[in-house]
């Protein structure tokens, strides 16, 4: 693989909950413009690492750099403003807002968000909202949520909430998407379409992706590179096809899954 510039660098990051090391001396780099995957068995520390990168928790040891900035101790909203967007493994929709409103919250630099403009120049916000709503219509159509636009997000089904999570992420126009199990709970037909969206977002908009994903077929199809984690550590890195051959990886994680797939 050509050595592209790293947009995200995780170096020697550890994180403990009480005495338990959920993340243990993790290091890897993500190349700008790549689609990478972070895989590993349940409890490997993937979501914890996502939280650390996204600023939900402060990094205890080690450092995380994004786009040349040290984000190890940055609060979540500042990390987001640098263009790094993380999603949650469990859907975190704004339940009391409609689907449409859920999509209008993420866009950055909304002029109507300043108190002064809200009070004295409400038309600024309205005009911008109209543009954002136009874009939101397209995104909703892409994700098949258009008919649900006026529904309260809290009333959506589990799968629809996952789609909403992705649709919102697209509206935020990030440089980097860090998606924690985005495909979990989405039906296979839709997964195939989402693959396409992710690749298109990378190709057309240059967005870098790091997916935490359990579906290894998806990973193999769309990811350039894979980082394998187990017991809080990075175990191996490389392409999915190589990793399937790596005995350590097979033992720690892939074992059963690989055999089933090979048989099937």
């Amino acid at each position: 693989m050509p050595a592209a510039e790293a947009i995200l660098t995780v170096s020697h990051v550890s994180h403990s909950f009480g005495g338990f090391r959920a993340v243990d001396d993790c290091s890897f780099e993500i190349a700008a413009g790549s689609i990478s995957a972070l895989i590993g068995p349940n409890g490997a520390g993937k979501s914890t690492l996502v939280g650390l990168i996204g600023g939900a928790m402060r990094t205890q040891t080690g450092s995380i750099h994004f786009a040349g900035r040290n984000i190890s101790r940055m609060s979540a909203f500042k990390v987001a403003r640098l263009g790094l967007l993380r999603t949650y493994q469990v859907s975190r929709e704004f339940a009391g807002l409609t689907v449409m409103e859920n999509l209008l919250v993420p866009p950055p630099n909304q002029r109507g968000e300043s108190l002064f403009n809200a009070l004295f120049r409400p038309s600024l916000g309205r005009v911008q909202d109209r543009e954002l709503a136009d874009r939101a219509f397209e995104v909703l159509e892409t994700f098949g949520l258009l008919a649900l636009r006026d529904e309260y997000a809290g009333n959506l089904s589990g799968g629809e909430k996952r789609l909403l999570e992705l649709a919102r992420a697209v509206m935020a126009e990030p440089k980097f998407m860090l998606l924690d199990e985005p495909m979990a709970g989405i039906n296979p037909a839709l997964i195939a379409r989402l693959d396409g969206h992710i690749r298109r977002l990378r190709d057309d908009h240059g967005i870098t992706f790091l997916l935490v994903e359990h579906n290894l077929d998806v990973v193999e199809r769309i990811c350039d590179r894979v980082v394998v984690m187990a017991f809080g550590r990075t175990l191996a890195e490389g392409q999915m096809s190589e990793l399937r051959e790596n005995p350590e990886v097979v033992r720690a994680y892939l074992g059963g899954g690989l055999d089933e797939r090979a048989a099937g």
């Binding site: 996204g54 600023g55 939900a56 609060s75 979540a76 909203f77 500042k78 987001a80 403003r81 967007l85 993380r86 999603t87 949650y88 975190r92 929709e93 704004f94 339940a95 009391g96 807002l97 409609t98 449409m100 409103e101 859920n102 209008l104 919250v105 993420p106 950055p108 909304q110 002029r111 109507g112 968000e113 300043s114 108190l115 403009n117 809200a118 009070l119 409400p122 916000g125 309205r126 911008q128 909202d129 109209r130 709503a133 136009d134 219509f137 397209e138 159509e141 258009l146 636009r149 006026d150 309260y152 919102r168 935020a172």
Partner: protein
């Protein structure tokens, strides 16, 4: 007629002022989910500061003491009260919101309010301690040559005008992207952070703007009654405003109006004329609070979202295809 009209006018003044209160709490809690359990402290702040801006200097010889005493016209005093309450909103917000989870927010606001209550009612040089401010002559009455009934009618107009301004403030925030962000933060603060929203700052804005409305209402009370003391802002008063908002419907300013009418006008007035069967002066407020509490529980049971719940914002685009004319936004109440 001579008795009924001034009485009704007084009711209308209280109704208007309570609308302003309930909208203020709606901005804090209904929009942004800030659990402000010391709302009445902001009302008091507005009333006191409006008072000491409008009153003359307190003199120790006569047993009155208070800070400032600037003898300024009432409109300036009202703005001063609003501003002071807004600043206090930021200060209490910084203590309660900064890095605190929402369940602690409630108790911290209550604690801060209790400290302020103790300070103000015991430290006389500030606002004359437990006796409070008194002796403010009815604003504009002398200049316009009004008697006390006419002043009441004037205050219907004054508080009505101020109320309309407050309505626009509350509605403009609600319908702006700022209001949408506040509601998103109310729903899920962490998720809002991941979209780059500075949730502390936005909730401080909500806290402060709610406090400004509280202060405005407090200043109107001060101007109307001419006096204000700690007996008028016990923590039970915060409960009345909360009850009005929950009964009426949080997140909806029309709901707030309904709530303030039911709780602050109907129940208040219904209990005011309870025959004094006992010599117990606390009977009426006790019965009032019991009635308010019962109403609150009833509403939470049968209609937990309030009498007029939050409006669902609907977006239409016709015809429904990309590249069609701009989206039109319409609002319709949720049935």
């Amino acid at each position: 007629m001579d008795l009924i009209l001034p009485y009704l006018a007084t009711l209308v003044v209280f109704f208007f002022i309570y609308n302003i209160f309930t909208w203020g709490l709606n901005i804090q809690f209904g929009y942004a989910g800030v659990l402000d359990f010391t709302f009445i402290t902001f009302v008091a702040c507005g009333a006191y500061f409006a008072g000491v801006f409008a009153l003359g200097p307190g003199s120790q010889q006569n047993g009155f003491e208070w800070i400032l005493g600037l003898n300024l016209p009432f409109p300036i005093a009202l703005l001063a009260g609003a501003l002071a309450a807004g600043v206090l909103g930021i200060l209490i917000g910084l203590i309660a919101i900064n890095r605190l989870r929402s369940d602690y927010m409630a108790i911290v606001t209550l604690a801060t309010g209790t400290v302020i209550y103790g300070l103000v009612s015991n430290f006389t040089p500030l606002f004359d301690g437990f006796d409070g401010l008194a002796g403010l002559s009815p604003p504009f009455a002398q200049a316009l040559g009004l008697n006390s009934n006419q002043f009441t009618y004037l205050w219907v107009v004054v508080s009505g005008v101020v109320m309309v301004i407050c309505w626009f403030i509350a509605q403009r925030i609600l319908t702006s992207p700022l209001g949408r962000t506040m509601r998103a933060i109310r729903e899920d603060q962490d998720a809002a952070e991941t979209f780059g929203k500075d949730t502390i700052r936005v909730r401080l804005i909500a806290m402060s703007m709610g406090a400004v409305l509280a202060g405005v209402g407090g200043a109107l009370l001060m101007g109307f009654i001419g006096a204000f003391s700690p007996a008028g802002w016990t923590s039970g008063e915060t409960f009345v405003v909360w009850a009005a908002l929950i009964v009426g419907g949080r997140g909806n300013n029309w709901g707030a109006v309904v709530g303030s009418f039911v709780v602050a006008v109907l129940i208040n007035e219904a209990t005011r004329y309870i025959p004094p069967v006992t010599a117990d002066p606390t009977l009426i407020p006790t019965v009032r609070n019991m009635l308010i509490g019962a109403t609150l529980i009833l509403v939470l049971w049968v209609r937990p979202q309030g009498i007029i719940p939050e409006t669902r914002r609907r977006f239409f685009q016709l015809p429904l295809r990309p590249g069609s004319p701009p989206v039109q936004e319409a609002e319709s109440a949720r049935g």
